[in-house]
Subunit: 168 residues, 2 copies
């Protein structure tokens, strides 16, 4: 294990999405136990112009799989954004993890200087691969996973930070 | 620039805290413009047994400065947890950034295998330095910065994800 571009990205992404999956499973159980319509949580936003839980989950995963394209030059599977149940969100994360499992160190390593351009509403952001990884990809994935966590926590789902962090 | 332990940790931590500082400055301006008592935001929690904004800011910074101790074997300054205003929270981040600026690559690089033990309510977590960095330190700092952001966003402060991510 060393800190090449693969080791610095894919294992952390896999872990973040795996933990998110467990958090969503707890939310699904919570809905069942408390007789809450899961659609209420899946569509919940912390503020009217923030994105709902389903979008937080989708974007976390899309950032993760998109990184393989941006760093490794790989074709990334596109998913429809049509999940409306916890089972469907789980299946989406599962497909994302299955894709990430196909990405190899040989494809990602050496991408430190690769030019990465991200289109945003404020204009293009240009990075070198390493800055993209450290200052855009990882913060973004953790941002959306944490926001998903906070939406659920705000609604009384019994989760704690260690569910987000996961076991060592 | 290469992905040693220093480059993989300190610049990302400095950036996350710098962005948090800008977000808090916007929150302070929001309070002034809308005649909101800043103490309402500083003490706000997304759920009754979650930590308030002040704690999210403190923990993000403490994780960041604690990493220098855990990876570099350095003596880390201790701060009292007594901030009650945005100016005081800003000063705390400022002191944390000033400390991080004194940490050198020579002190942190080579700590990939260093044993790191984290005490948690569920028992000790044992990591090697690299796993600690990737799977505990960075997710934790982003978790607390994002939760601070979500607390403010939930209360109508006009910030967006790019304030959290920062400029490339």
């Amino acid at each position: 294990m060393s800190l090449g571009m693969y080791q610095s990205s894919i294992p952390a992404l896999v872990r973040a999405l795996g933990n998110l999956r467990q958090i969503l499973a707890k939310a699904a159980s919570h809905c069942e136990a408390k007789k809450i319509d899961p659609a209420v949580l899946i569509g919940f936003r912390l503020f009217p112009d923030m994105l709902p839980l389903a979008s937080q989950v989708r974007i976390a995963g899309d950032m993760a799989k998109g990184s393989a394209a941006r760093l490794g030059g790989l074709e990334v599977p596109k998913f429809e954004d049509n999940e409306t149940t916890f089972a469907e969100l789980d299946a989406r994360i599962d497909k994302t993890l299955a894709f990430l499992a196909t990405v190899t160190p040989a494809q990602i390593d050496g991408s430190e200087k690769r030019t990465v351009t991200i289109k945003t509403p404020r204009g293009d952001l240009n990075f070198e691969g390493q800055s993209y990884l450290q200052f855009f990809l990882l913060p973004n994935v953790y941002f959306h996973c944490t926001t998903a966590y906070n939406i659920l926590r705000h609604n009384g789902v019994e989760i704690g930070k260690m569910d987000f962090i996961g076991a060592p």
